[in-house]
Structure formats: C-alpha cells, structure tokens
Symmetry: C2
Subunit: 630 residues, 2 copies
C-alpha cells in the first residue's frame, strides 16, 4: 500500500507514463486492437470491441490457456449460460453482497462510486495542495490505505467531513448506499422469474459438482474449468480495458480433500523463483521479494502453491515482464471469512499494480452454500480400507405417518429430517421425549411444521462406517483475460526511431505464441512473378496452419515493415527473387535468406517454439541490404 | 412443406424415431455432452450446460469454423459485447419487430406461443382424429402450411374458431399479442439507460463497418466474422438444444459492391453437387434435387453461391450426412422485403428439417439503417479511372450563420443538411426562394429548426467526380452452432449389439476433427510396467498436441472400449507389452500393432487427416485377439 501511495504521490515520471500510455492507446485504437463499442452512437462506458488483431491476440491467449491448464492437467471443461436464475446467485451471496457503495448528485441524480470520490479527493490534496500540513497528509494517506475497508457510514462521514461534492456540478451528495453490480433481467414471458447476467463463471461449475465428480469416476482431486463472458454493471467505469462492464473470465475450480491439499506435481514448480509479496512484508512496509516457491513456506498448501507456479509460467510465456509481476497475498482483513488463503497475480502497468489473476483457497464455502439452498448434497466420499466403528445418531423418518400428515410435502420434510446434524437431532429427541411434539423448520418449504414422536425415531447407534463423507475444498485460480491482455500490451510496446530519425516507430514485441499474425509476405516490387511467388508461399503457410497476410501494395518496403511492427508480427518474408526470399525478424531487424520451398517450414519452426531466431540465423546466410528497411 | 407435413402425419417410423432420440439423449446427458443448466435448482427451460465432451466438441467445431472461414478467406474477426444499448437495436429493427405472438391463460396468466398451440392442435387432429373428414384434414394441413405467415388477428381467429384452450388448465386464452424476445436490462446505475442482450452478433459488425473498411485498406469485397453468445427470451422453449434461450452464433458479414457480386473463388466450389431446394420445386410440390451449384442458376449471385458451397463443405467435414442436408431457398413471402435472396442449410433430424445455417443477401439494409440512425455514413468508395462529369446538387451550409442561430447544435444541423438527397435539397431551395425560410427536421436533434436563405446555399453544378460513393451490400452466412452440434450428434450416433448380444452398445462415429478426445490409452492389466508405458505414450501424445485420456481402472478391456465408443473416441491404444502396443479403430474395431515409440506419430497422422485408417492398416501388422474386445 505504501508503495502504491508513493507511486501516486510521486508526480515524477507521471508525465512520461501518461505519454507512454497515450501513445500506446492511440496505436491500439488506430490498429483496431480494440475500440469503444457502439462508437457511431457515442459509445457506452465500459464496453469495448476487439478488432481483428485484438481478437486474434485474445484467441491465442485463450488457446494457450486451454493447452497450459485444461489439457496439461486433464481438467473438465464446461460451458454454462450467462443468464442465471436468481436462486443460484442468492445461494452464492451475490444478490446480497455483490455491491459497490454509490452516492447521487442530489440535484441531477448523477451517480458516483463513493470510494472513488474520496480517493480522488485525497490524491488531489496529496499531489497538488502544497500548503498541506504533515499531519493532514498523514491522515489522507491513512484514508487511502483504509479505503477498501470503509463501511457505508465511514465513507459517508468522510465525504461530509471533507465537504466533497459532485465533481461535475458541485452539488451536494446523498449518503452512500449499496448498488448491486449485476445486470438484472427477467427470464421467460411472465415477468415473474428474475435472473441476472452472471458476475463470474464459477457458479456454473459449483452447481454441476455432483455430475462432474461422477464423470471423474468419483475421485478427488479434480479440476473443472470454464471460459466465458461475465458481467458487472459498474457505476462509473474507468481505466479503459481494466474496468469494464463485460469481460472474458477463465476460471478453474480445483476440488480437493480438505485433509490433503498436497499436489502430486508440486515438485515440477518448486524451484521457480519470482516476486512474492506475503502478508508480513506488506504489513512491515517492505517490498515484494524474489523467493523460490518451494521454500516460501508462506503459501497455505501445495495445491495453492502449484497453481501460483503454473500461473507464473503462463503469464511469462505470454510475454509479461517477470520484473513487473508479483504474487501478493491477501491481508487477513481482505479475505472473505471462509477463505483459507488468497494470492493475486498483480502486474504493474501505467495504472499501477493491477490484479489480473486471483488464486484463492475458498475452502468448502461454495459447495456448502449450494447444498443448503438446493437441498442436493454436494459431497465427496472416501472409502476406508477397513470399516471403522463409530457412534452415530440415526434418524429414521416414519414415512407412513409423515405421508398422512404432510401429503405432497412429505419428501421435503423427510429430507430436512435426514439433513439434521447430531446436535439438532439430539435436541429434537429430547424435546419429543419431554413434550411429545416439536416445531421443525423445513427450509425448502419455507415454514415450520409440527412433528410428533410417531413421525420420527432418533437414536444413537454403534455403526460400522465404510466411508467418510465430506464437502471438498476448492482452490480457484480466476483469470481476467482482458486485464492480462491490456498489461501484455503495455509490456510489449516500445518505440524506436526510424532510420531517418524523423519519426518514432511503434513496435509490439509479442512472442510468436501471442502475435495476432505470425508472418507477412511482401513482394519487394509490384510484378506478377513476385506476386505469384508470394501467393505460393502464402499457400504453404496456410497449409502449415500459420496465420499470415500478404501486402502487395506498392508502398516502400520500409513502410510495410513499420506497419507490420505495429501489429507485432514477428516475421516478414520479402520476395525479391523467384528462387529465394528473405525473412526479417521484428525486433533485431536482421534478415536471413531462405529458399522459397523451405520458407514455410522455417517460419513454422520459429513460431512453434521448436527453434529460436538465433538457431535459424546460424543455419541460413545473413542478408544485408542497404535496403528499404526504415 | 408438403414433405414436412407427411413426416408429421405419418406415425409410421415415429415411434422408432422417438426411441432413437430417447436413447441418444440419455447417452448425451449421462456422458455430460450436455445437461439442463442449474439442474440442482430444478433447471431453467431453454438453458443448457455443455459438459466436458460437449465442450470439447463445441471447441473443435469453432476451431474448424475459424480455420475454414476466417483463416482461409482472410476475414476480419471481431469480438463485441453481448450487452447492447437500445439505440442500436432500434436501428436494426429488433426493438420493434423481434417478437413472437403470445397468448395468456386468462385465469393463471401462464404464457404460450400462439402459433405453437394452433400447430399442436392441427397436428393432433391429423394424427389422432380417425373420424376427420377429408375436407377438414385438408383445412388443417393448409393451416399448418400457412402458420408462419399468419397475422396476430388471423391466429386469434383460428384459436377462437377451433376453441383452443390453455393446454394445462383448459382455461380460455387471451387474444394473441406480440412479446419481444430480447432479454432487457439496464446499463449503469441510473436506471435510465435501457439495454438488451444481443439477439444476434451481426450488429456489432455493422456498427464497426467504417473502421473495418479502413482496416482493409478501403477495399471491397471483404468479410468480417464474429463468434459469440446470443440471447432469445423464448416464450416456451422446446426441442432441447434446438430452441434455447442462449446460444452460440458464428456469423459472417461479407461486404460487396452491389454492382458486382461475383466471387473470385467461385470456381473452387462450382463443381460441388448436393441437394438444393429452390423456390420453384417447393411451390410445385416437388422434393429437393441434387444439383451442381455452378449449374443451378437459381442462386442470385456468385458470392451467395460461393458461401453455399463453402457451408456444404464445412458441414459435411464435421460429419453431417450429405443425404440429410439440403439448401432450401426462401419463398418470396418468407424473405424480409430488403433481402435479395436467401438460402437455409437445413439438416434432417428426428425433429424434422432444421434450419442450421442461414445464408442471406441482405442488400444494403443494415448499413443504411445505421447510417440513418447514427448520422455516420457507412459507405464505400470506388475511384474512377478517369473523372466523370456529372450535374450535382451542391449544398453549402453557412456555418457562421448556423452557429449564431443554433450554437452547440450547429454541427447536427450542418450534418443533416449535408445528408439531404437531391430531391430534398431542390425542394428546400424552391421553398427558400419563395418563402425565405423553411422548417427543417433534424433527426439527431429530434426536432425541427427554422432555416432562412442566409444559412444555406443550394445550387446545381457541373462537377467532375473522381469516385462513386455507395452503400455496400452484405451477404450473411449465420451459423447456429448448437443446432449444428445437435444434428451432428443425431447423424453420428448408432448402436451395435455387444458380442454376447445381451446389450446394445452406443457409438458416436465422430470424425477425428470433431471427436472430443482423439485417443485413449489402456494398460491391458493393472501393473506398473504397463502403466509406465501408458504414461510415456500419454506424454508423447501431449507433446504432439493430441487430446487423450488414460484409463487405468481394472475394468475389462471390452468395457473400456465400450466407454470410449460412447464418447466417440476414434482410437484406443492398448498397452499389452512394453515394446509394442495395439491401436483399435472405433467403427470397424480392427487393430494394428505399432511400436511404442511410433504410436504418437501414427495417431497424429490419422487424426490430422494426413492418412486414413486404411492407409495405416496397410502399413502395420494386424492384431487379432480372441481378446477382450466385447
């Protein structure tokens, strides 16, 4: 936090950051990596379209995600709808708690996020108010540090105390009140069935736990995964692609026995070394430190550690700079009460450190919540090698009596009786014995019923148990794909002077894995022979499954290289003869000469990752030209 | 239509169709190809989850779609949000016209699709009323044939005439009234900004036309493509995966010069022969006929014909039976008024002929609609080789005067003036000359303003034109991915007796391209040596990018083959020694023996499509065992 504050307060470098970002965003929008959605109608805040190169980058990231996680770990991928009925999101807690605090301009009705206004106010004071006393400065810093934990009342009090008004009109503001961030809709024609656009994909996995566990041969651990759209009706979206109203999530729910969170492949990541930012370092005001994950000891369990390691490998393979990536542990007060431990993969960009992947041990919370709400028990079983003798409360509903008394509701009463825990059952037994009848609340009926001692028998018995029944814990790595992609853009973007030195050229240094197009083909000059060779090369590239583009415009080869660099295309083939051609690498701009019939296989090698550019540079003659490049 | 009626009326084969479908659906649900969404909460009609194999099939279909269409044609892929502001869908006509006619149970308020009730009534009469007169039967057939064209009044009249009541309660029904099928929501916290979940992905492309045209170097023709979720709040979903409330669409918008709809690659598909069902055959009561697309002459233009051919290749490569696939031309009264021609790829399944891909020439309708609504002109330009002399109306708004009169609205007034067509402009000129001022409606302001003759000059001038400006036509192939997949399941599913003959075994004959898992690995018996070999093979398969699964359970090899057949896995490797293993093909059940170190490359060959099973069968020794298979 301290660090963040410093980066806020330091206006040093702030300008160059702004310039960098503006140049980046101009390039991204001009090249249609993304554009504001519905632009011709003035756009909608927080909604963006991916144009052709952005869409290709996204597909490449998702394909690699599937390969790196789903395929390598044999995860069970599912695909559930975005439209979700209310009951599911009531169980998960989203209907009640997925809110931000909002204030309204009391005259115009314009809405603002309460914490944003307070944050902006404190930052502005710290940055611009030169007469600020040390005491006041410390107070504002304190507010910024505690902001995320403020209650509605605390936020309201601070807004009053500082006299903060609506930014656009200076009108007074309402008290803060919670605004639910889900897009609400109605399912079916009656208007009676409320639904929401899902705020995350995870719930679709939880509600399918029983089927997935069965599909996996009733064995733990296993992981399910889902890629899909999620929605969040932000009060006032800002920071471009980082905070949007619709986004692609890729989520993994890894189910484990809570008594054994070891991971059989942990040793494969144990030696990885990267920046970790455990709770203690944050609290003591230190910075993130490079640690070997196997040594760290601060991660709650091996499975969580394994995923942290895998996420590190995933992000750095995409081209995220490992010096600007850290894994930050949640502070105790930051975590949900049920969470055992939680680490965020944070990536540094011009907006600061951005949470891009959350990796949380959510314990048994979600499965229990859906078990309670649905009445379907979402549990796992472990067979004992030998039966164990245990004393158990046995609850035997007398169905005949219950049927007479409750008719169609009998089933619900029986299920509720069988679902009682030991204490509840023994209490009921005592009451039945003393009073002859009890009031019993049946959740699924939404009311209490009266039971007498004919309707159920409850006794303690010694029983042989053949298996343990338990609710699995879930470890959840959750990836914000759009945020990762935006940070990737920042980490990949650079400018270099053109040869003439008169202008800056923009380059994305995407690895071939991510690059939207792997290779371009340029006939050096416009003539039929060269264009035929170019077509022939394009065909062999297509045959090898390599995405490519021909540019037969008469533009100078230097300009065509510059265009290609701005899209992050790693290799450019220039056709300057009918027998051999040159291949130019984007970042070092060196060229080699390769025969026409070999060129597709060379490009395949270097884009597949079988060989590096250095490997092939060593094998083929260098081509140097006083040419057209720049 | 006659054909459809016959298939409805014939109860012959109906039962076996039902049995087939029930067996298929049981298998699909048991193997988690798909399951009803939110099942533990009782489900929501029209929403389904794809489980692991279904999700893999879907990914394979989409990957192949991208390869077959986007990559091979160099289409510009985009990715736009599902949440769409109202203005966009007003322009497209969806707010007004995307409706179904609904009737309500007058007592309970339950909703039904009016046409469904009438259809069910007529079908029931035709199927079950043995005393039906020939005359009445003809009338019901006539109603079924015209159903889709009935107006609200006609539907209501028929429902009254036949005394149709609510199916569940027999209560009287309301008159039919339109129900908009879009899921509505509200964007942002104010509640003032209405939005919808998009009913199709196409609008996201149209609103980006200007940027995409520029991205393509301001050249026509070009195509943009989008894969994504679309939503349709069905009144009463039925027919499983065929009519759902949320689905994946893959859409192409191919923009062409309306004066030149030729396609440079038409000859690549011209020789294809398949079932076509042109308008004339439908009207004259004939059946679809095999035709060579290049000869057909009934398709409006080459581009439309090219896409019909490409769609045929796409569907049959996936495993759609070409004998149960036809391209049906829309009847004149079926098409939107603006459409030039429209063909549906219809696939026959147990529910009848199902529209799975629509291929429409939508002319300039969509781009014009968004130009009108947004005021941004979505047009293309064709440069003339030599400038042409034309007489043109020149409209010159006098910005100074307009600025004084309309201040901030000046820009909108200027744009509206410049957007006038010749006739409007000449009328204004006449009015200004006679009266000195005119009322002028400015759409984007939503009101009229008063203009005087100082504010604009209008005159006819001889001008040299250097280019033609026009609104492109759009040819739209639109794929319902879920429907294609369901039909694929039906066309791929068969049962065969087990060797013992005591039970039926289910098989999906998916081609490797589509199969959710390409290959399974079975150690013949549970021992460490074999399991190590199996692990080694699994690693080499992973290295080759082949999705696979190890099954080390002690189950009999016959049962494991049966399990694998039910998932449509084309190849099974059985480890029965440490040096060589067998590969078994799913459909002919024959086996070959291959060395352990070759096995991954053999599987790659046959799953990539480089070789057929017959090719490799010829190269490797056959393995025959009195073994375990069945």
């Amino acid at each position: 936090i301290e660090e963040e504050l410093q980066s806020i307060v330091k206006s040093n470098g702030g300008d160059s950051k702004e310039t960098f970002r503006q140049n980046l965003i101009n390039t991204l929008e001009r090249k249609l990596f993304y554009v504001p959605s519905f632009k011709i109608y003035g756009g909608v805040a927080g909604l963006y379209d991916y144009g052709p190169p952005g869409c290709a980058v996204k597909q490449n990231v998702l394909t690699y995600w599937r390969q790196h996680f789903v395929m390598q770990e044999n995860m069970l991928e599912v695909d559930c709808p975005c439209v979700t009925p209310e009951v599911v999101l009531k169980a998960s807690g989203h209907v009640e708690k997925f809110t931000d605090l909002m204030v309204k301009d009391e005259k115009t009705g314009a809405c603002y996020r309460a914490d944003h206004l307070l944050k902006d106010f404190c930052k502005e004071k710290l940055e611009k108010d030169l007469s600020l006393s040390a005491e006041k400065a410390a107070e504002f810093k304190q507010v910024l540090a505690l902001l995320d934990d403020f209650s509605s009342e605390e936020l309201g009090a601070k807004i009053k105390e500082y006299g903060i008004t609506a930014p656009d009109t200076k009108n007074p503001l309402s008290d803060p009140y919670p605004f639910n961030l889900m897009f609400q809709t109605s399912i079916g024609p009656s208007g009676l069935s409320s639904g929401f656009m899902r705020p995350e994909t995870a719930q679709g996995i939880f509600v399918n736990f029983k089927d997935l566990y069965y599909y996996n041969g009733n064995k733990l651990p296993f992981a399910a995964a889902q890629i899909g759209q999620a929605f969040r009706n932000e009060i006032s979206p800002r920071q471009g692609l980082l905070r949007v109203r619709e986004f692609t999530l890729a989520e993994i729910e890894h189910f484990v026995d809570p008594q054994d969170k070891s991971h059989r492949k942990f040793r494969e990541v144990a030696d990885l070394e990267f920046f970790m930012f455990p709770r203690e370092l944050q609290v003591s005001g230190e910075s993130a430190k490079k640690m070997v994950i196997g040594d760290a000891g601060t991660v709650n369990n091996e499975t969580l550690g394994y995923f942290i390691g895998r996420v590190y490998l995933f992000l750095t393979s995409l081209g995220i700079d490992k010096e600007r990536l850290r894994f930050r542990q949640h502070l105790a007060n930051e975590m949900a009460h049920y969470a055992a431990d939680c680490w965020d993969a944070e990536i540094e960009c011009s907006y600061g450190w951005i949470e891009c992947v959350g990796i949380a041990d959510r314990s048994a919370y979600d499965l229990r919540a859906h078990t309670d709400k649905s009445g379907v028990s979402l549990v796992a079983h472990e067979k004992y090698a030998e039966p164990k003798e245990v004393e158990k409360v046995v609850i035997t509903p007398v169905k005949k009596e219950l049927g007479l008394a409750f008719k169609g509701n009998q089933k619900m009463v029986v299920e509720a009786l069988e679902a009682m825990d030991e204490k509840e059952a023994m209490d009921m037994k005592a009451n039945l014995e003393s009073k002859g009848e009890v009031e019993f609340n049946v959740c699924t009926l939404g009311k209490s019923v009266t039971l007498n001692d004919k309707m159920v028998t409850i006794k303690k018995e010694k029983k042989k148990e053949h298996q343990r029944v338990f609710t699995p814990s879930v470890i959840e790595p959750s990836f914000g794909i759009g945020r990762i992609i935006y940070c990737l853009y920042e980490h990949s973007f650079y400018t270099r002077p053109s040869k003439a030195g008169d202008e800056q050229q923009n380059v994305f240094r995407f690895p071939p894995l991510v690059a939207p197009i792997k290779c371009t083909v340029f006939p050096l000059v416009q003539n039929q022979q060269y264009e035929e060779v170019a077509e022939q090369i394009a065909k062999s590239l297509a045959g090898a499954g390599i995405s490519h583009k021909i540019d037969t415009t008469g533009t100078s080869i230097g300009k065509r290289y510059a265009r290609t660099d701005e899209l992050g295309v790693p290799f450019a083939i220039t056709v300057d003869s009918t027998s051999s051609v040159t291949i130019r690498e984007r970042d070092n701009k060196q060229q080699i000469r390769v025969n026409v019939d070999e060129v597709a296989s060379v490009i395949k090698e270097v884009t597949d990752g079988q060989s590096t550019w250095a490997d092939v540079q060593w094998r083929y003659p260098a081509h140097s030209s006083i040419s057209a490049d720049e």
